[in-house]
Amino acid sequence: MHRRHQYDEFRGFAAARGPALSRVAFMLTGDHQAAEDLLQEALVKTAVRWHRVQSGGDPEAYVRKVMVNQLRSWLRRRRYAEIPLDAVADRQGGTDVAHQTALRVTLARALASLPPRQRAVLFLRYYEDLTESATAEQLGCSVGTVKRHAHDALATLRRAGPGLLESLKPSEVWP
């Protein structure tokens, strides 16, 4: 395949699926800068191997898998800031948009504070809706480890903001 043609196709893919992949990257990191780094590195790897990836039939799935794998390799490498327990502002009354936004920001910060593997488990179990077995298979670990990571992650989110998850109103468009 001609190199220019190769990158033209990749460019089209990246532009079309960029927003969806960006959402995945943010859910895996909880942080805009980290999400950008994670996604960019995954896309570079994809671009380098574009012919082979494309022949696999699902480049988007490939990029998502690379991002999850990258999280695994970050396991020992990152330091994590603790989230102040007072980060969740007291409700001043009502369920206005500003309050909901503040809660989401706090939830994102709490998510970013989790170790990468816990974020990966949350993503696969509760965003991708994979079973524990499928999650374990993707992460190359045991089902028990998946359970432990999910438990620890949710416990951390609860510590960061008691009732944080429950206090957010479900979106009206959520099925």
Binding site: A47, W74, R104, L168
Partner: protein, 379 residues
């Protein structure tokens, strides 16, 4: 937690921006391709590598010799100990190639490869599956540099670098296999067959014969070392107190107290020394405001509890320095230290002679997050 309460988590994706810049990605991809294809333009840093081998040598009896092999060339940058990319990315060939000095991945997520550096300075990249190279944490080398272990397609491969022997360790589908430690004589490799912290199962591989023996850690313990006769050492996995205790698969128990050597620190890890009669206890202090611990000192103590030395981990003029344990060397301990501003990873050997910086992976030669480089040393 029921599905309903996870809705706020799912809806966090609405906070995402669009992080994709196709032109930047393509530019980086082109640069990476051209770097991989370049013919030997950048010489290997002989002195830097030799320095690393000398620092990391696994003991006089087992220290690999350091001949000026055909792949090693002098470099103008040797005085800094800087590790530079290989001129070309050559896959590790089958069969005998020579002993390994260390392995590394120079930046985030394997950076298109995990490199194995031989004692003569030649570098080879390990075979990479489609979604990236083998996890660097799965890489291991025997103390004498003769054996290399790595994950490959669901199996753990242990191959000789000096002859044609290869062992493959299989595990259950949901298990991962990771190396724990080598015996000091390089005859046995201790592998953990699951990454679960409970019911940890282990395999002891005798590399000479290929014989594999399975064992399970006592409840609440994890293995941290293996003796040349195959005896495995277990210690309480959550213990951070000053009384360090461990048991062996042969029924022996050992307890040492390092209270007097600690200065408000907790015990981070315990590592068997190559003499098989002493341990290195890594001390750490909690970092205020962060869910992290800063390594501060390494305490050397023999099995009778006698403290042989406390070696401070020096600040290396790295902003937000953070060090990881690599393991014991011939006469001390090796650490991998990086700075938080994203420009460098440095190998640091600590011994009674004082701290000695080894190889350095910096932004000058490795622009893609060198602070996330990983180094693996023999043993």
């Amino acid at each position: 937690m029921n599905d309903q309460t996870m809705i706020p988590y799912r809806e966090l994706d609405a906070e995402a921006r669009n992080y994709v810049d196709p032109e930047r990605v393509i530019a980086l991809a082109k640069r990476r391709r051209s770097a991989a294809a370049a013919v030997a333009v950048v010489p290997v840093v002989l002195a830097g590598l030799v320095g690393a081998v000398v620092v990391l040598g696994p003991g006089a009896a087992h220290t690999p010799s350091v001949p000026a092999g055909e792949g090693a060339r002098p470099s103008a940058a040797t005085e800094a100990g800087a590790l530079r990319p290989p001129g070309r990315s050559t896959a590790l060939p089958a069969g005998p190639v020579g002993r390994a000095a260390y392995a590394y991945t120079p930046c985030r997520d394997a950076c298109d490869g995990v490199f194995v550096v031989l004692t003569d300075g030649r570098q080879f990249v390990l075979p990479a599956p489609a979604d990236g190279g083998p996890p660097v944490h799965s890489i291991t080398m025997s103390r004498d540099g003769r054996w290399l272990g790595y994950q490959s397609h669901g199996r753990y491969m242990v191959r000789s670098l000096t002859d044609v022997r290869v062992h493959a360790v299989k595990s259950a589908a949901t298990d991962a296999v990771f190396p724990v430690a080598w015996s000091s004589d390089s005859g046995r490799l201790l592998l953990q067959r699951t990454d679960s912290d409970t019911n940890a199962a282990y395999t002891v591989l005798e590399v000479g014969s290929g014989l594999a023996t399975q064992l399970t850690a006592p409840a609440g313990t994890k293995a941290f070392g293996i003796l040349p006769d195959g005896t495995v050492l277990f210690r309480n996995e959550n213990s951070t107190g000053p009384v360090v205790a461990w048991s062996t698969s042969a029924g022996q128990t050992v307890t040492i107290d390092v209270t007097a050597q600690l200065d408000g620190e907790s015990v981070r890890s315990v590592n068997l020394a190559p003499d098989n009669q002493s341990v290195y206890v890594v001390a750490a202090r909690s970092v205020e405001g962060q869910d992290s611990r800063e390594l501060t000192a390494v305490i050397h103590a023999d099995f009778t509890g006698k403290v042989l030395g406390r070696y401070e981990i020096p600040k290396m003029d790295l902003e937000n320095q953070f060090c990881d344990v690599l393991g014991p060397t011939a006469d001390g301990f090796a650490l991998s230290c990086r700075n938080g501003s994203g420009s460098m990873t440095t190998l640091l050997a600590v011994s009674a002679a004082g701290p000695q910086p080894g190889i350095k992976i910096s932004a000058q030669d490795w622009p893609n997050h060198p602070e996330l480089a990983e180094i693996v040393i023999p043993g």
